[in-house]
């Protein structure tokens, strides 16, 4: 067994959160520069220019790229040969988040669902753990803004609807969201599993770099076809009309029941701030 003090995890979360809040992933920056290049004149081009200026400024001055510094989503793949020591894992994660959101001057955006009273420190984080082979811990940290999260949907399709049904569901979701989630969006899709696992897969799909594709050829084709159809909608940056409505569609899959075809679509705005670390 390899011993890991959860304090190490707390510190890793702290560093990842601080960095994520002020800078986009490299693949997201590239996608925005490309979009600015592709778009013609008009309000959409004006907005894309502002977005590029904004992420450059934020990174330079260590300011939050977006004021919605999000709910902290933490995915951990923990090797089963790891023995965790010290404080409770969830406490370690939340302590890292709490410190980062305070020290980074990030907005605290977490509240009680009924009273709407703010918890004051952006905790609790959304924590997903999976036990895997080995003695390492893979940590993914993603601040998730809610302007886009609100636009997400789950479809329980019939098996007969197949690939066409999946693509229709993805495109319909983006069409219905229109200008509201801060397009250009990134679309995470979970295909298969059950009602709950497809939503997790959709979120995990978002953490994959833009420009990469599913290793399964048939699923990579769904990604490409859906992206093409979304960009044909013409919604454009901020809903100001244009060629670029989405920067990418990423799909993850899992086996499902013979009676069903669950599809979850998790919408992410153009502000992808995911970080990955191995301990």
């Amino acid at each position: 067994m390899r011993k890991v003090d959860t304090k190490e995890i707390e510190n890793a979360i702290y560093e990842m959160a601080l960095d994520a809040g002020v800078s986009l992933t490299d693949s997201c920056k590239r996608a925005l520069y490309d979009a600015r290049q592709i778009e013609d004149e008009g309000a959409a081009k004006f907005a894309l220019q502002a977005l590029c200026d904004n992420f450059e400024l934020a990174e330079r001055e260590k300011m939050p790229v977006c004021q919605d510094t999000g709910m902290a989503v933490v995915m951990m793949e923990i090797g089963q040969e790891v023995a965790l020591e010290g404080k409770l894992l969830s406490d370690a994660v939340n302590d890292g988040v709490r410190r980062a959101y305070e020290d980074g001057y990030f907005r605290k955006s977490v509240c009680d669902p009924i009273t709407r009273k703010n918890t004051g420190d952006n905790t609790p984080a959304v924590i997903h753990t999976t036990i895997v082979a080995g003695d390492r811990i893979n940590i993914t940290f993603m601040p998730k803004g809610f302007g886009s999260e609100n636009m997400s949907r789950v479809y329980m399709l019939k098996p007969a609807q197949g690939v066409e049904g999946i693509i229709d569901a993805i495109v319909e979701t983006v069409k219905l969201t229109g200008s509201r989630p801060c397009p250009p969006v990134i679309v995470g899709v979970g295909i298969g599993g059950s009602f709950d696992t497809c939503t997790y897969l959709a979120k995990r799909a978002l953490t994959r770099d833009l420009g990469t594709h599913s290793q399964r050829e048939d699923i990579a084709q769904i990604e490409e076809r859906a992206l093409k159809s979304i960009n044909a909608l013409g919604i454009g940056c901020q809903g100001f009309h244009g060629k670029i409505t989405a920067l990418g569609v990423n799909c993850e899959w899992a086996p499902t029941h013979i009676a069903g075809l669950p599809v979850a679509i998790n919408i992410q705005c153009h502000c992808m701030r995911c970080r990955k670390e191995v301990l």
Binding site: G42, A43, F46, A47, A50, L51, D53, N54, F55, L57, A58, E61, M63, P64, V65, C66, Q67, D68, T69, Y105, F106, R107, K108, S109, R116, N118, G120, G147, N150, G178, S179, R180, P181, C182, G234, Q238, G239, F240, H241, C269, H270, C271
Partner: protein, 175 residues
């Protein structure tokens, strides 16, 4: 690019058309979900609001805390559609206009036309750029709501696009 000083006169509003890029200067007030609920409750009870609504411009936003030496933390717009149910009554009560992001309802659009007002779209996700356009920030109501409180912001050259003009046109309409 039109440079505008808030509050706008009727003449200035009539010269604005959906899709125009503008730079806003003057005072705007932040208010989002929780603040709107409070404002509606106060108005329903017939009580006086803790700030002047007439000719005020509400910015649908909740800023990050300010770093030392800065007037405001990052402060881009939030999704306006969540305030659809509140905006018409505020416009009828004298609100000068709103700044947010994304489509709003037909009821809001009709209230904009009825009152000869304007709805501006700020660039969603450009929080750091907007922080630079904010020259001062002061919490003027509901401080317990933290980032959702009402902040009085003085802004300079705040970039926006006319989303709904006073003629009933919307930048979001299909071309």
């Amino acid at each position: 690019m039109k440079i505008l000083n808030l509050p706008l006169t009727s003449k200035e509003i009539k010269e604005l058309h959906a899709g125009d890029s503008v730079l806003l200067n003057g005072v705007i007030l932040t208010a989002r979900d929780c603040a709107h609920k409070r404002i509606a409750e106060i108005m329903q009870r017939g009580e006086v609001l803790p700030f002047e609504l007439k000719d005020a411009y509400i910015y649908y936003a909740g800023p990050c805390p300010a770093k030392p030496g800065m007037a405001s933390g990052s402060c881009g717009p939030t999704t306006s559609a969540r305030m659809d149910s509140f905006a018409p009554s505020l416009l009828d009560a004298g609100l000068g206009g709103m700044i947010g992001k994304g489509e709003m309802s037909m009821e809001v659009r009709r209230a904009i036309v009825r009152n000869c007002r304007v709805y501006f779209a700020a660039i969603g996700g450009a929080g750091a750029l907007y922080a630079k356009a904010i020259k001062s920030s002061e919490c003027i109501a509901f401080p317990d709501l933290l980032s959702e409180a009402v902040y009085r912001l003085e802004v300079e050259n705040f970039p926006a696009v006319v989303a709904f003009d006073c003629y009933g046109n919307s930048i979001y309409d299909q071309k």
